[in-house]
């Protein structure tokens, strides 16, 4: 989806030439996270201190496994987009900024894969 102006497109202008896309995905994930967060908070509160077997049985249910994966993935994507903005706002040394942006994106992928494998090991 592109919501850039035709003139902006023709000139190829814009800070990283993808600001509207970034903005839109931040909002897309935010909207998705509203119901997912409600479900997550409620579920964790109900299973706090529950025996391991019950927690695993909960996560093994296809609905819960799906919701958990959606929460993890939407959350991490939203997190990476958000932290990028914070870094760009405060860090102005190019090298450090680049290093932190790499770190955030790698971390989001790593945590996402680790969490996904954990959920799949339980649910599949």
């Amino acid at each position: 989806m592109s919501i850039r102006t035709p003139l902006g497109r023709v000139r190829g202008l814009g800070s990283a030439k993808s600001g509207a896309h970034h903005f839109w995905h931040q909002r897309l994930t935010a909207v998705a996270l509203v119901p997912l967060t409600l479900w997550f908070v409620w579920s964790v509160a109900r299973y706090a201190g529950a025996p391991h077997g019950e927690v695993v049985a909960f996560l093994a249910h296809p609905f819960n496994a799906t919701a958990m994966l959606l929460f993890v993935i939407a959350g991490l994507y939203h997190m990476a987009l958000g932290v990028q903005v914070v870094i760009e706002d405060y860090i102005h040394r190019e090298g450090l900024k680049l290093a932190l942006l790499l770190l955030v994106n790698f971390a989001a992928f790593a945590v996402g894969i680790v969490a996904t494998i954990a959920v799949l090991r339980i649910a599949v």
């Binding site: 909002r27 935010a30 909207v31 996270l33 509203v34 967060t37 409600l38 908070v41 409620w42 964790v44 509160a45 109900r46 299973y47 706090a48 201190g49 529950a50 391991h52 077997g53 927690v55 695993v56 996560l59 958990m68 993890v72 959350g75 991490l76 997190m79 958000g82 932290v83 914070v86 955030v104 945590v111 680790v114 969490a115 494998i117 954990a118 959920v119 090991r121 339980i122």
Partner: protein
């Protein structure tokens, strides 16, 4: 004397006045949205730890729980709950702004207060439910 003075900066009060300055409500919620977002970024590590521990078996899960139930663990998880609830509620406020609603200053101030109050109420509710699940303290 009078001449030298007229050339220097006039003795007007500073604005914002540093000693009697009150943070506007919208300023507080704005910076808190950013701070809670950053807090939640680190919170994803705890979430991954919980899922991995559950997937590895009862011993690993017991180890996770001993950290989570420790007073410091509870403090961190309480902070995580406040951050998540505040950020989610204030995030919805942001989304309404994004489609053009709620920009009037009085409205923005009112919704900010509502976010604070509902954050408090929901956080307490969640922890009551959690402690009931745990069967006590």
């Amino acid at each position: 004397m009078a001449e030298a003075r007229s050339r220097g900066p006039a003795a007007r009060p500073l604005s914002p006045h540093l000693q009697i300055y009150r943070w506007p409500i919208t300023m507080g919620t704005s910076i808190l949205h950013r701070m809670t977002g950053m807090g939640l970024a680190f919170g994803t590590l705890i979430l991954a730890w919980w899922l991995v521990a559950a997937s590895m078996g009862p011993e690993a899960y017991a180890m996770f729980e001993s950290s989570a139930f420790h007073w410091f663990g509870r403090l961190v998880l309480f902070g995580f709950t406040v951050a998540l609830v505040f950020h989610a509620l204030n995030g919805v406020r942001h989304l309404f702004w994004d489609v053009g609603y709620g920009f009037k200053l009085s409205t923005a101030n009112a919704t900010g207060i509502v976010v604070y109050i509902v954050t408090l109420a929901l956080t307490v509710l969640i922890w009551i439910v959690a402690y009931r699940s745990m069967g006590g303290w």
